[in-house]
């Protein structure tokens, strides 16, 4: 057989291949067990010694050319076939995946705030929801019979004398300061309870985060610095802040912290009551009486403390207008977060 003629035929044949079936046919014709190459190879032993080497080489190079051709054709065919087989695919159809659940917005805000303070070096500590009257009031310098207690109306337990549902997370200050020694930098998230009539702005149960720091040389300016870092991390760098003198029995000096209204940017709107400012937390330098109650030397140590309502922060941040939504657990609400 004439190698050159075969070679020309190969070129013709490969041009006629347009499908993988055609390519397989081509491959079998030339490279199959009974194909042309096999046939040519089988003739080798019948050749004279001189002819064998040269012919063998020709067959071999032909075989290599065929292998290369098949491979090339395969590549072009597979590109073509992708284009033809999947042209009808509609990526507009819904994707397939296990749908995710949603974390409650209170959890998300709590985690966000705790993680900010964590990064500032604060530890996260929990405390019980059932508290003693002492830890909730007396230990925090809140007199039992004074109008300053009115902000902390409280649920008491039946059959357990002087036990109550904590009306704020501050009692954990008392616990932590009794159990640990300064330096302390602690945040406490948790549920609190107050017998308030429920409406869009009030709930008898809500969540607070308490934070405090006690060491030698802690100053009011540190309180300002830490809370500024916090507020800007939560509400963005563009906000303005102000510290307003206020009264809390467990801090002196005390301050309420306002941020410029995130809705109207301080111009005054219905959310901020036309004031341009939103109150976000209460704070101050820990009162010497609180230190005295927990046995910390107020001459040596100073500290600051602050407390905020998680739902309030979530309401401001997400624009939620009714606190009851947090506890109604409507999935259409929860799935937005």
């Amino acid at each position: 057989m004439d190698i050159n003629a075969i070679s020309t035929q190969i070129d013709l044949d490969i041009q006629g291949v347009h499908s993988s079936e055609g390519l397989e046919e081509f491959r079998l014709k030339y490279l199959g067990r009974k194909g042309v190459i096999a046939e040519l190879t089988s003739t080798i032993p019948s050749l004279s010694k001189d002819e064998r080497a040269a012919f063998g080489q020709q067959v071999n190079s032909l075989k290599n050319r065929l292998l290369a051709l098949v491979e090339d054709k395969q590549k072009t065919l597979s590109v073509q076939s992708e284009n033809t087989t999947y042209t009808s695919f509609d990526i507009g159809m819904p994707g397939i995946a296990q749908g995710l659940g949603h974390l409650h917005p209170v959890t998300q805000i709590t985690d966000e705030i705790c993680s900010i303070f964590s990064r500032l070096g604060f530890s996260i500590v929990d405390g019980p929801e059932i508290e003693t009257e002492y830890n909730n009031f007396t230990g925090l310098n809140i007199p039992l019979e004074h109008p300053s207690r009115e902000a902390f109306d409280t649920f008491y337990l039946k059959n357990y004398a002087k036990l109550l549902l904590r009306s704020h997370t501050s009692p954990v200050q008392v616990r932590a300061m009794q159990e640990r020694k300064p330096p302390l930098a602690i945040v406490v998230p948790g549920r609190v309870y107050r017998p308030d009539a429920v409406d869009a702005a009030h709930s008898f149960m809500f969540h607070q985060i308490e934070g405090f720091m006690v060491d030698e040389g802690i100053k009011f300016s540190d309180l300002k610095g830490v809370l500024e870092k916090f507020a800007k991390a939560v509400f963005g760098k563009a906000i303005n802040m102000r510290f307003r003198p206020h009264f809390f029995p467990f801090t002196e000096p005390s301050a309420e912290v306002d941020i410029s209204c995130i809705i109207c940017k301080g111009k005054g709107c219905s959310v901020c009551g036309r004031k341009g400012w939103l109150e976000i937390l209460g704070s101050g330098m820990i009162h010497p009486h609180v230190f005295k109650h927990v046995g910390i030397d107020a001459k040596k140590y100073t500290g600051f403390a602050f407390g905020l309502g998680v739902e309030r922060i979530a309401m401001l941040k997400y624009g939620i207008n009714d606190i009851r939504l947090f506890f109604e657990n409507d999935l259409r609400f929860l799935k937005q977060f």
Binding site: G101, H102, E145, Y156, A185, S221, R242, P245, T302, L334
Partner: protein
């Protein structure tokens, strides 16, 4: 508290407009919550914190304005003096703790009439109704000086004495609000010889009030114990401008001044002669002195304020400041500042007037403690798993009504009750999360949700000798979850196995071993780890569903104690070397009676298959046309492997035969 701009101007020259004044007051701690222009004046509504009774008056706010605008307070001393004529009139105070000071002024021949225009207008601007000139004057002085006064019609009293005493349990009093009150020994009263005539510090009596027919007046100015007034008004459910101020504390020095001021106004407006002033009680308390170390001011505030500035601020607020040493001031506290007892109280005053805005912000050097927060981290990990599995987190109330528990049909210990609930749904502390979750499911079913899959992690409350809180995970499922796959819509009806699978995923992630689920009847299943019960799963009973107003839907729930679960977490994972030799998988399909437990079968086969059988699992499960009723079809996949060699078919055939034999003989299955 409402106050007007013009009234303030009686006491201090204000050179700034009302808007600016309001802003300055807010930043000094007197938060102005509303400012309204009205009848040629401005009405400021100020929120006064409970520690500052001295601000509950025009004078007090004016003093603050003088301090923050650095001007002088205009003090007006009332003119005229009562003749302290000796009479046979006496003041008797039963207990001077209840009433440290009582004064009575007798003014005769007054003409009671409507108030003049200016007086009526001032009172009405701040929301106080005008009654008559005498009553209006007592109110006017209350708002101006902060000392509550009361005027009695002298001729309706027994005229020989005034007694300040506790009420007797059987006594009654018709107050000026026209309501008759049953008095108790908690309540302090003003009485004459015969009967109580006023609730001390709270409200006067109807019978002795000043009316247009009144000719002679007894004007009371006194101090009553804050706690006694508080208990009294709480017991009677009564609140007044007077009690509001008495509860917060009255300036001892103001009693006589206010009485004189009222007397002066009465003489000016109503005529009459001021003929007698009597007072009884304790002597004026000694001035409190507090040392203020100026270095400590800087230490607390983080800013150096010049000593001269500190002195100027405190003097402006009415403190007497003397130099004790170079660094230390001796500060005399005025009688109207009962809230100032400590050095830090003075520091707050300095900071307030200096301006919180003028204190810089700094960052403290934090010395982080070693944080122990494993529990919180584990809770976060569980939440992340559940959210990944498509379960959403809810937050339900920790307080519940009793009724919902009774319907649940669980054996629960007696829950902790709330002493003072506001409503029925706050009767008890939840001893389980399941009712709250059930309500959330019910709510969402009503919102037409086909599939509800929710969890909560929170405390339950157990009423033992001491109340105990336990952290638990609760999960509830209801309805049909649909997945749109390429072959079309696939529906998965929620059931106990979904709960089981979810929990097993958590166990796997936390490395919990030796857990099992045990049926306890048709509705209920116990969850145990190493034989300790940590929780339960259940299908809510028809009664429970009815209690939750759920119709035509099943609800499945579980509750697991995380405190118990976490105690089974063992630290450290160990690597198991990967198999060196490939294994062989062989399937067995058979039909099994419904009342036999797969758990028992797997246990038995695992035993029989040792040591070559290294894993056995259920890979298919079906019920349907080809399977007779009361039976189910199962396919088990058996995996054989060895660490020493590649196994041959020949080797495993006898084991596989043994497994099939066991299945048939012990469990009576039919091979398929």
């Amino acid at each position: 508290m409402k106050i007007t701009y013009n009234w303030l101007k009686d006491f201090v020259d204000i050179k700034i407009p009302a808007q600016e004044l309001a802003a300055k007051l807010t930043m000094a701690g007197l938060e102005v919550v509303a400012l309204e222009e009205k009848a040629g004046d401005f009405v400021l509504e100020i929120e006064i914190t409970p520690n500052r009774p001295d601000w509950l008056s025009v004078l007090g706010v004016a003093r603050e304005i003088a301090a923050i605008t650095n001007t002088k307070l205009k003090i007006q001393n009332p003119k005229g003096k009562a003749r302290s004529a000796k009479g046979n009139f006496k003041i008797e105070i039963e207990d001077k703790k209840d009433c440290p000071l009582y004064s009575a002024r007798i003014i005769r021949n007054v003409r009671v009439a409507p108030s003049p225009e200016w007086l009526r207008k001032r009172l009405e601007l701040i929301g106080c109704r005008s009654v008559n000139n005498v009553v209006d004057i007592t109110n006017y002085v209350l708002f101006e000086l902060g000392e509550p006064l009361h005027a009695f019609d002298l001729d309706k009293l027994s005229q020989d004495k005034i007694i300040v005493r506790r009420a007797k349990d059987s006594e009654k009093l018709l107050a000026i609000d026209e309501e008759e009150r049953n008095l108790k020994s908690k309540v302090l009263v003003i009485a004459d010889r015969n009967r109580p005539v006023a609730i001390a510090g709270v409200m006067g009596g109807k019978e002795t009030e000043v009316t247009t027919s009144t000719r002679n007046v007894l004007l009371e100015a006194a101090i009553f114990d804050p706690v006694v007034v508080r208990r009294g008004r709480q017991a009677l459910g009564l609140q007044s401008e007077a009690s509001y101020r008495f509860e917060r504390g009255i300036d001892f020095a103001m009693v006589e001044k206010a009485s004189a001021r009222a007397a002066q106004l009465i003489q000016e407006i109503c005529g009459g002669e001021d003929i007698l002033f009597l007072s009884s009680g304790l002597t004026k308390p000694k001035e409190i002195r507090v040392d203020l170390d100026t270095a400590y001011v800087a230490k607390i505030l983080g800013v150096n304020i010049a000593r001269a500035k500190i002195k100027q601020i405190l003097c402006g607020l009415g403190f007497k400041v003397r130099q004790k040493s170079k660094e230390v001031f001796k500060v005399g506290v005025p009688s109207f500042r009962q809230d100032v007892k400590l050095q830090v109280d003075l520091i707050e005053e300095v900071a307030r007037v200096f301006g919180y805005d003028n204190i810089p912000a700094s960052l403290p050097a934090v010395k982080p403690a070693i944080t122990i927060r494993e529990k919180r981290d584990l809770v976060s990990a569980i939440k992340a798993i559940l959210v990944g599995l498509g379960v959403s987190e809810v937050a339900t109330y920790s307080l519940l009504d009793k009724a919902v528990l009774n319907n649940l049909g669980l054996n629960l210990a007696k829950p902790i009750e709330i002493l003072n609930p506001l409503s029925q749904d706050q009767e008890i502390l939840r001893p389980t999360l399941i009712p709250g979750l059930g309500r959330a499911v019910s709510f969402n079913i009503n919102q037409k949700q086909d599939y509800v899959s929710i969890f909560e992690i929170g405390n339950i409350f157990l009423g033992e000798t001491k109340p105990r809180e336990e952290l638990v995970l609760g999960l509830a499922l209801s309805g049909t979850n649909s997945f749109l796959l390429e072959q079309g819509l696939v529906k998965d009806e929620a059931g106990l196995l979904n709960l089981k699978g979810t929990l097993e995923t958590i166990f796997l992630r936390l490395g919990i071993q030796g857990y099992e689920f045990n049926n306890q009847g048709a509705l209920n299943c116990a969850i145990r780890i190493q034989n300790e019960k940590i929780g339960l799963m259940l299908r809510l009973s028809p009664k429970a569903l009815e209690g939750l107003s759920i119709k035509n839907r099943e609800v499945f729930a579980l509750e697991v104690s995380l405190d118990k679960l976490f105690s089974f977490i063992r630290p450290g994972k160990k690597f198991t070397p990967l198999p060196k030799y490939p294994g062989i998988t062989r399937d067995i399909s058979f039909v099994l009676k419904d009342d036999l437990s797969v758990k028992d079968i797997l246990l038995a086969l695992n035993q029989k298959g040792k040591p070559l059988l290294s894993d056995i699992r259920i890979t298919d499960y079906y019920k349907g046309k080809q399977i007779p009723a009361g039976f189910r079809g199962l396919t088990l996949s058996c995996f054989y492997s060895s660490n020493e060699r590649t196994l041959t078919e020949k080797e495993i055939q006898p084991v596989q035969d043994l497994l099939c034999e066991t299945l048939m003989q012990t469990f009576g299955v039919k091979m398929r």
